[in-house]
Symmetry: C2
Subunit: 525 residues, 2 copies
């Protein structure tokens, strides 16, 4: 499936084509990496990226790997990566991880090729509405309209991605605009300002703090250990409780940092934890919402009688707001007493023993990518006192972000070991990411939680009183045949091993994280 | 990620819930298979399918496998399968193969779960606009609005899918409507009629037939060997030329049947083949369009001076139209002299030798699934005289339909061997389909054309005069690391072997197609 330039005479001449103007502008604005799965209608970008050599190009074998890697990259680099995708079907393949990034307020710039303008009306086989396909998974969508304004469009996309809160921006690039001469490099966008802090909100928040007050902090505040420590200091002084949302873009935590509990995922636990609050103060967070609707349970998880004050919205500077509140109260930062990791265990691999193994094996400055779903439920608590680390997790509920995010995090931080906690069912959505990990020599240890079932769905079906028969279980169990993840990894150039007891798991984890390059451990649960 | 019924008291009582009414109605209307990748918001369907036992449920580990399998199933069963998908991100994952089915005018009914109605406004993590995500890849979209009308909506979806030409229909199913009581089984839709044949068009077509006339036939005509033979008879009598479009839903061909050449994919070849025609008569076909825009080449491939007559549109009965035209002319069916397959070759595996091996190895009644892209260019001609077979191929250009279509074809026709001709780059988009092939014991031989590159893109980049450097080649080559498809297959329960010469390939093909169940052959090119 391929395309020619529509103005081949412009190609290779001193006149800059549209694609080159876009690449040069993105680089000048600080973009360093492109995660790509190009087709014919993106060859002008492949050519421009190649000739200029300005961005590092990482090939993905499936678009969901490219968008998921861009997600993980941006969370760790605190700057967007660019993706390069092919027409509406290719964009759709990347949609689930665009969704996850969008829900996590992660910045992303997608360049999506389209047919040449004059070819659009003919209903060629690959024709579909690219803008319409982009919109459900993007905060900002535009189709470029001329080579001269193409780079300016890209800078508008970048500005949108970096605006507060960060966003997913998709620029659609008709093939001819990329090949045609007349490209003009555009200046980088202004640095996006946070929404200003409202001094009266600080005072109002201070007046509400007490033992029945929840201080819910998200966004950049969780990426700033000092801000978390200040929030804990506020809590210590006022008796309030600090929590983080259930799903977060990134959390920098571990020994020597003030940790936080999260609003629990299971609805009954969440309602129980939140029931006692009469006031809630939100910092870069929204009122917590249940993942799904449950019978005779509310969608909003705070008590209906709880009054909610937004100290900063999602577009605000959380650390500055927390600092202002702490100053107003005269509260000093506070580190709650460190909780040591549980001692290493022996025996079978279960959620509790795997949590202890991880907490003890985690090296200094690791990046933990969490898509462990049901098998990983004990790890958050167990790792509070583990070596300091960054924790990035699934934010939009669309499984299949873990392996790609680990790739992107490793590209962003080549000097930090990455540990991907990966449920087996979820791993299969974007398993192709292992190949890109091998190609890039990404320093990722993938730990597969092989319970061989969509456990979370099975639990739920039982919980609603169904008595599932063979047909239902066949749609939830992954054990016929069992998947051999070590073979899958080997097939894509990633070495690995299978472990069946937790002592072996711990040894394997330590060895894998000490060794550069990708490795996969399949833990049979 | 899971959901509870919102009206649990209705579950398991004699009152039928919405989901059960949908399942019972689909079954009564002749639907037999559901390709599923469900999540929490589809548990009501998992439960209803399980309790009723009315549809065969096939689990896919990725949504593109489910929609691609539904595509392959419908092409062979000549009836739609149902898919079960999870919210907007899951739908998007299935979008590329919905696109391929849509471009091939293949019938498909997608059931896509959404949040319960009351939960929609809260921007929960998995919330996105499901209708908007469905529209670019569907001909028909509706969101169900009550348990009582839910089954009638499903029958409207089925009617749309089976209308002429066949269509992709997507019904969005809020979770509460499935769990709530009050479901009412709806009657099957009427059988869709073809658009009536225009007798004056038959007369007009007869008047235009001559040596400078193209008769281009597609759709159901290609699935009807008698119609193709009649078209060849018309050509013999009048001097006209019969061709098939480049990409087709299905073609029943081989020894003892009248074959057809296709409009070539490469634009220069297509323009050359079509240049001499002054008249074109279309039967279930549209005027041929180039895949992409090319410099100084038209998008429409017929000469601008060629007059075009549509004997039947895409909604017409092609075989009846051809029969009427043949009768009008007094033309008898004609089978051009059989072209025997080329003799088996020895030595390296190249496009010509692999074509000979396939033509000789193909068993009687095989189903050939063609996503071989550049490596398979010689196979169509070589197999014209091979044992009679059905040929189904990529119709929308969105790579990643081959492995899933092979699964679906095998489910539709368990007594027929399936041979999937699969380019290596394309295989990686939906490689998870091998696991479902293993689980279902699908009688599929997957032949991987391992040229270890996106060859078609590389050819194109060279053709436009680019002198690609390391960065460009890195985005087109798949050889660092090489992918071991035998390991990948083994990891998903499919046995396989690698072959490096064409004699071994031929032996491996014959053995694999004689042995029930899935098998994978990686042919190093």
């Amino acid at each position: 499936m391929k395309d020619h330039p529509t103005s081949s005479q412009d190609h290779g001449t001193p006149a800059m084509n549209g694609a080159e103007s876009v690449v040069r502008s993105l680089h000048a604005a600080g973009c360093e990496v492109c995660f790509a799965n190009p087709g014919t209608s993106e060859m002008q970008f492949v050519d421009a990226l190649d000739r200029t050599g300005l961005l590092r190009c990482v090939l993905a074998l499936f678009e969901g790997v490219a968008t998921g890697a861009a997600d993980g990259y941006a969370r760790m680099a605190k700057a967007p990566a660019v993706t390069l995708l092919h027409l509406a079907p290719g964009l759709a393949n990347g949609g689930a991880n665009m969704h996850n990034a969008r829900k996590g307020r992660v910045p992303m710039v997608n360049l999506v090729g389209d047919h040449a303008v004059r070819h659009r009306g003919f209903d060629a086989p690959l024709t579909a509405d690219v803008e319409a396909a982009a919109r459900p998974f993007s905060d900002w969508v535009r189709t470029a309209s001329s080579p001269a304004t193409f780079a300016a469009d890209a800078m508008d996309a970048l500005a949108a991605a970096q605006s507060r809160p960060n966003k997913v921006a998709t620029l659609i690039a008709p093939a001819d605009l990329g090949w045609d001469a007349g490209g003009v490099v555009a200046p980088p966008p202004e640095t996006a300002a946070f929404a200003p802090l409202d001094a009266t909100a600080v005072e109002a928040a201070a007046g509400k703090l007490g033992p029945d007050t929840l201080l819910l902090i998200g966004g950049t505040a969780l990426e700033t250990p000092d801000a978390v420590a200040q929030a804990q200091g506020i809590a210590k002084q006022t008796g309030a409780t600090v929590l983080a949302p259930t799903s977060n873009r990134r959390f920098d935590r571990g020994a020597g940092r003030a940790g936080l509990a999260k609003v629990p995922y299971p609805i009954n636990m969440a309602l129980e934890v939140l029931a006692r609050f009469r006031h809630a103060i939100l910092v870069e967070a929204l009122p917590p919402v249940a993942f799904f609707a449950y019978p005779e349970r509310p969608s909003l998880l705070l008590p209906a009688t709880c009054d909610v004050l937004s100290l900063t919205g999602l577009d605000g500077d959380g650390p500055a707001a927390i600092a202002a509140l702490a100053e107003h109260l005269g509260a000093a930062p506070h580190l709650p007493r460190a909780v040591l990791p549980p001692p290493p265990q022996a025996g079978a691999i279960r959620p509790d023993t795997i949590a202890a193994a991880i907490a003890n094996a985690l090296p200094e400055r690791a990046i933990v990518v969490d898509e462990s779903i049901s098998g990983g439920r004990d790890i958050w608590a167990a790792t509070q006192g583990a070596a300091p680390h960054s924790w990035i997790s699934l934010t939009g509920g669309a499984i299949g972000d873990g392996i790609p995010m680990a790739l992107g995090a490793a590209v962003a931080c080549p000097d930090r070991p990455v540990l991907a906690l990966q449920a087996d069912g979820s791993a299969m959505y974007t398993i192709q990411g292992l190949w890109s990990q091998a190609r890039e020599g990404a320093n990722v240890t993938t730990l597969i939680f092989a319970n061989r079932t969509y456990q979370i769905l099975k639990t739920e079906l039982f919980a609603v009183g169904a008595n599932p028969g063979r047909s239902a279980l066949d749609m939830l169990d992954l054990d016929r045949p069992t998947i051999d993840f070590v073979d899958l990894a080997k097939g894509m150039g990633v070495p690995g091993r299978r472990v069946e007891c937790v002592a072996d798991l711990q040894l394997a984890l330590v060895a894998a994280m000490e060794t550069p390059g990708p490795y996969l451990i399949e833990a049979i649960m």
